[in-house]
Symmetry: C4
Amino acid sequence: MEKETGRVEAFSDGVFAIVITILVLEIKVPKDEGSHLWHGLAEQWPHYAAYVVSFLVIGVMWVNHHTIFGHLKRVNRTLLFLNLVVLMVVSVIPWTTAVLADHLRDPGSAKVAAILYSSLTVVYAVAFLGFWWYITHVGHLFHDHVDRDGARATRLRFGLGCIAYPCTLALAFFSAPLTLAAHGLIALYYAANQIPIPLVNDGPSGDGDDDGTEEEAEGHVTAVP
Amino acid sequence: MEKETGRVEAFSDGVFAIVITILVLEIKVPKDEGSHLWHGLAEQWPHYAAYVVSFLVIGVMWVNHHTIFGHLKRVNRTLLFLNLVVLMVVSVIPWTTAVLADHLRDPGSAKVAAILYSSLTVVYAVAFLGFWWYITHVGHLFHDHVDRDGARATRLRFGLGCIAYPCTLALAFFSAPLTLAAHGLIALYYAANQIPIPLVNDGPSGDGDDDGTEEEAEGHVTAVP
Amino acid sequence: MEKETGRVEAFSDGVFAIVITILVLEIKVPKDEGSHLWHGLAEQWPHYAAYVVSFLVIGVMWVNHHTIFGHLKRVNRTLLFLNLVVLMVVSVIPWTTAVLADHLRDPGSAKVAAILYSSLTVVYAVAFLGFWWYITHVGHLFHDHVDRDGARATRLRFGLGCIAYPCTLALAFFSAPLTLAAHGLIALYYAANQIPIPLVNDGPSGDGDDDGTEEEAEGHVTAVP
Amino acid sequence: MEKETGRVEAFSDGVFAIVITILVLEIKVPKDEGSHLWHGLAEQWPHYAAYVVSFLVIGVMWVNHHTIFGHLKRVNRTLLFLNLVVLMVVSVIPWTTAVLADHLRDPGSAKVAAILYSSLTVVYAVAFLGFWWYITHVGHLFHDHVDRDGARATRLRFGLGCIAYPCTLALAFFSAPLTLAAHGLIALYYAANQIPIPLVNDGPSGDGDDDGTEEEAEGHVTAVP
């Protein structure tokens, strides 16, 4: 059973690793000759910005996926399927990134592309919340050290955390570059902050320590969307 | 020997993860400017539909591959070769997906593309049945907890399960979009239903419980094509 | 130290899995409309043939790499470097495959492409022999169950096995399709036949049983180029 | 906790394996017919040279990443983030490689491309030093056998080792081919030479044995940028 978890993690890690790496395939080689190449390289700044932001976004998604699986003891068929749906959404990011980068300098189409980019992150948030909701709902897939009632209670906070994504969707109607920047900031924020998954030996510290960022928490770990 | 199984699984997982992820590389970035980009994005619906269906199809193939290997204790050279043939067929799916998506809106060529897509799944079914037939035939590659005679008896049911693929091939002569939808429905059906691999401690429940979908079956696991 | 071996294997498996999977990216989607798509698909036969052959070739290379690492207990910096050189050569195969497939129907350039394809396999054979020569030379990287003197004695036989590759190079001057077919046959031959790596408990069977193909050999395993 | 380290390694290995393998996707298939294909193949020498050099460069980066993780017992959120930054820089190498290879024969733009290529390695050195600085700073992530004070003392030497990259940047203003050659030589040098990470049982040999290249060092292992 342990082994099953291992192989799902290996498969998911593979998908995340490939998705994050093929982002670079969307950056083209400028054809400009001579010192005009500087100009050609500079013209591509939307691709560099989109690369960095999407790399961070996918990286944070991987860290959270990784954290949740660290608390699971086994998987069942439903979880395999929900995991597949999460991976299906994540795998689309290189495409929405390319659409946004290609259109970022044309104000009209940039708005459309930014709406597309943000919409996909909203779909991701829904898929991820469904994944987490199911795990906390059935409960028995967790390792014994996880406080199942406490884990269930994190759902609301998870949902609130996800509200950032619809906000970027609203922002997309105003400015595509700001939308991209917002996604980068959200990723940086979630890289540093954590919603704890309570453990059974989580004592009194579980009450007042909601978003502590201590780095070696023995008692609670992170899983933010 | 255990280790051998581990590395074959790791290699196969890698191939499945890459195949499922490069599907997205076939979706192009529309060049339409301004709000016409909405139109350009909408025009590409065949690519989105084909992406979702093929992602599910490959995902279910991975789940079944993963389930079977969970019951193997070791591999031999013949199995490595049969596994390679299965992976060779799976790796072609991104191409048949691209052919179908590119041609889905031209009725004439869509039929050809749908026949190609369905034919590959038939070839996959044959390769997978050969793989499973060999494992149940030699028997000694299984873990000790597997009921080898019972496993052998599942072959017919496996074969019947595969009949869905030739049916989609017949359907391809009538409608390419329906063929794609049928593949999606088959994948969803197989994601939820299971043919059990009987275990030696499988007691009386092994008789009447053919397609039970209980999620934590201690006594039998899934492997449908 | 065990762990080191594990991570080198994981990295190498990843490279092999990616190389074997990106072969399909070289097969293009024909643009023919209506039933002409049949013609367009048929025209691409060199790509299908090259795909199947190269998939088998890389698959056999992976099996041998996998077999050798199954007998190693640890790695050192030199071995990491030699392994990297082997992977560097293997990673070029998708490109030589694409060159051969693109030119197979033009007799003049097909010859050039076939020479290129075969030359790379010769380079691979040299890299792989260097890798194996080093392992048998230092000896102490093997697991204790390996008969080090016996392993050293396999070098000549390995070298003879590699002679098939220069032969395909000679054949390339006459016929590119035959060269491709020859590579397919060599891969099938090596998939079925084995040069044993002698083990210390290899008793009397080690003498007369040179190319036995029994599938569950407890006493000796395979490593052919 | 061990498991966490395992999954970060698996993810990182996946990224390194993909980055090193997609290098080959940048080498194009020449369209020349007949024996002119020889000419077309020869014309592409900058791509072959860039492929070999970047493969070695990424390979050495992987070996060092692998060595450092072999000395870690656990990871925390900051390290996951710093690791992500290192991977983000490494993943750009296929693009800088393609830019350099495409422009290597045009003296004007080749200079620009070489500056770009070398600049990325400088960024990598900064990211990698930050990664190593953090690990030695917090200390508690190391396995118990690592001499933490000694590890901290290696920082200066690491930094000096990285000075090679700014030197290639200076060289890029003079000659792009020489810059590429310099990167290849640096990779070969680092493949053979090591800065030891001192272990607690490292006895007297830890003092005078700065750059020993013995291959099976029980007492100290390598981690050069």
